[in-house]
Amino acid sequence: MTILVGYVPSPLGEAALRAAIEQARLRGEEVLVLNTSRGDAYVDPRLAGEPDLDRVVRELVAAGVPHEIRQLVRGRDAAEEIVELATTTDVSLVVIGVRHRTPVGKLIMGSTAQEILLRAPCPVLAVKAD
């Protein structure tokens, strides 16, 4: 069984990663880190760069958790990618970071977290940035 974590290079993403590592050690499972972008814009701050990924790997190695990292850029929303991965592979828990959005903001921007919470086939752990 695998714990899937949606990672973005930000305090929110780091918090989600730490929570996923903690859960993996408790349950004795491995961590699948997913970083994804639609690739719509020339630059996407949510796409992890080389230094970010190196840091993620160091953290995972230090914690001694078996892990895998995937980066997907194929024109699809993060929610779609996470739900699909959770459905097609043997995922026991999805870990995501959440933050506050006003109702109007949610209407305009949509909510990735809400999509995942409602559509994921397994339990979802929602973490806030510290």
Binding site: D40, Y42, V43, D44, P45, G49, V73
Partner: protein, 500 residues
């Protein structure tokens, strides 16, 4: 110094709050479109032509000039920070500039690009002030046959020199000339109007420019939209140390010297001088081993060449009414929109307008330095705009502009037809510039040709006038033979230095 006092008058016109605001708007838009890889200055000016219809001609030209110069600055920012040249003229900048940024010297690369652009832009604009009036006074003495020959040269130059395939260039030129023929001739005869009353006045150059540049480009990109995201290299305030200044100032001056003449020659463009500047700096550098790993000279020289060639482009445009690149072609369409006939008489008939435009170049250049030095990181944030919004926005503004020209939905269908033509040309590798030059210069060439033949009573020898036309015809022959020279001399040279 007659032109100096005229220039001072021009500054007087520019330095009003309203015109300064328009110049600021122009350089801001220009930098933004320069930064965004999908949209260039030619397309932007084309999109703005219809909405500036109600403005004063001088103000519209100040705006366009700002966009023209701004685009050159913005392109370098993306080249350096993203390794994505915003414009074809900043391809060379990306070679060393991005390497510098990766080595943690993004601030110095941006600074030498911005300051170099300013130095080159200012010197080259001064050269424009010095060179244009003599060219004009010479051009005024020319007769109809000479003009006809010069325009033929412009056709041949944009068709045969640029682009990989001459036959495709000529196909594009002929398409443009045919579009230019549409409408009621001066004798009252309908030509190619297909009986449509909306075509009686011909196809508005604005609709052609918007259709080919904006709609055609948007359709073409939509068909093969790339999905990829990069990362911007974080950068603080651009600055340069003493050592950087010492290594930059000579490349700036050499780049200017290379860029200006190439810009002024028909079909010279910015690609060749930026490339030549790169090769020169590599050869002259005391640190040749740094080239390929982020040498500051390799950013300073090409960036200066790039901006100097932009100013050089304005010499034939203002003095002769000849466009040598896409942006200049669209700006000439802007002149025609205001009923201003481009050509040598422009300097005498519209003296105030021309000098205001030139003065605005100096002002805009200074504004660009101020905008770009501290704000480079902010400009890079523009790259977060999702591509669908960018291209949806282009289609949106193109439709708005094309409708606004004559307030008839017919123009929107015409725009779509031209957009599909532009799409097909991009698909089959037909260059765009010859078509646009054909549309703009075609009718004028026909007029001059007919005028020349009128003097000779219809005999063909009327097309050959004084020594100027002989000289120009000789140059045309050389230009037509140029691809052979290019194949055996220039291309092997280029390949060698790119691979090195």
């Amino acid at each position: 110094m007659d032109s100096l006092s005229a220039l001072l008058d021009g500054f007087g016109h520019v330095l009003t709050p309203m015109n300064l605001l328009i110049a600021l708007l122009g350089v801001t838009i220009g930098t933004a479109v320069g930064v965004l890889p999908g949209i260039g200055p030619a397309m932007t000016v084309a999109l703005l032509l219809p909405v500036t219809h109600g403005m004063e001609p001088a103000q519209a030209l100040i705006l366009f000039a700002g966009i023209f110069y701004g685009g050159m600055y913005g392109g370098s920012t993306t080249s350096i920070l993203l390794n994505t040249p915003g414009e074809s003229s900043s391809v060379v900048t990306a070679i060393e500039g991005n390497k510098m940024a990766k080595a943690g010297r993004a601030a110095q690369a941006l600074a030498t690009a911005a300051i170099g652009s300013f130095v080159a832009g200012t010197i080259a604009t001064l050269l424009l002030v010095l060179v244009a009036p003599p060219v004009v006074s010479f051009a005024v003495s020319l007769g109809a046959p000479d003009y006809f020959a010069v325009m033929l040269l412009a056709f041949v130059a944009v068709t045969a020199v640029l682009g990989a395939s001459r036959i495709r260039g000529f196909a594009s030129l002929l398409l443009g000339l045919v579009i230019g023929v549409i409408g009621i001739d001066q004798t009252g005869q309908q030509r190619l109007t297909l009986g449509l009353p909306q075509l009686a006045d011909g196809i508005d150059v604005v609709v052609v420019a918007v259709g080919i540049f904006a709609v055609g480009e948007a359709l073409w990109i939509a068909a093969r939209l790339r999905r990829r995201a990069g990362e911007v290299i974080p950068v603080g305030q651009p600055w340069m140390g003493r050592q950087d200044w010492r290594r930059s100032w000579k490349p700036w001056l050499r780049g200017t010297a290379l860029g200006f003449p190439f810009g002024a020659v028909p079909a010279g463009g910015a690609e060749i001088p930026t490339f030549l500047s790169y090769v020169t700096e590599k050869k002259l550098s005391r640190h040749p081993e740094e080239f390929g790993r982020g040498a500051i000279e390799g950013v300073a020289g090409p960036e200066a060449a790039n901006n100097a060639s932009a100013a050089g482009t304005l010499v034939p445009m203002l003095a002769l009414g000849l466009p040598t690149n896409a942006t200049a072609a669209v700006m000439l369409a802007g002149f025609q929109q205001y009923g201003i006939q481009p050509g040598p008489l422009l300097f005498t008939r519209e003296s105030a307008l021309v000098w205001t435009l030139i003065a605005s170049l100096f002002v805009g250049n200074l504004m660009l330095l101020v905008l770009n030095l501290p704000l480079a990181p902010a400009w890079a944030r523009l790259l977060r705009i999702p591509r669908p919004y960018l291209y949806a926005g282009i289609v949106f503004f193109a439709s708005m502009g094309a409708y606004a020209v004559n307030a008839q939905p017919f123009d929107l269908f015409l725009l779509l037809t031209l957009g599909l033509l532009g799409f097909g040309m991009r698909r089959f590798g037909l260059p765009i510039l010859p078509l646009v030059v054909g549309v703009i210069l075609g009718p004028r060439a026909e007029l001059q040709g007919r005028r020349a033949l009128q003097l000779s009573g219809g005999e063909l020898h009327g097309l050959v006038g004084g020594w100027v036309s002989w000289l120009v015809y000789a140059v045309i022959v050389v230009v037509l033979a140029w691809p052979l020279l290019a194949r055996f001399v220039v291309r092997p040279l280029r390949e060698r230095s790119v691979t090195a």
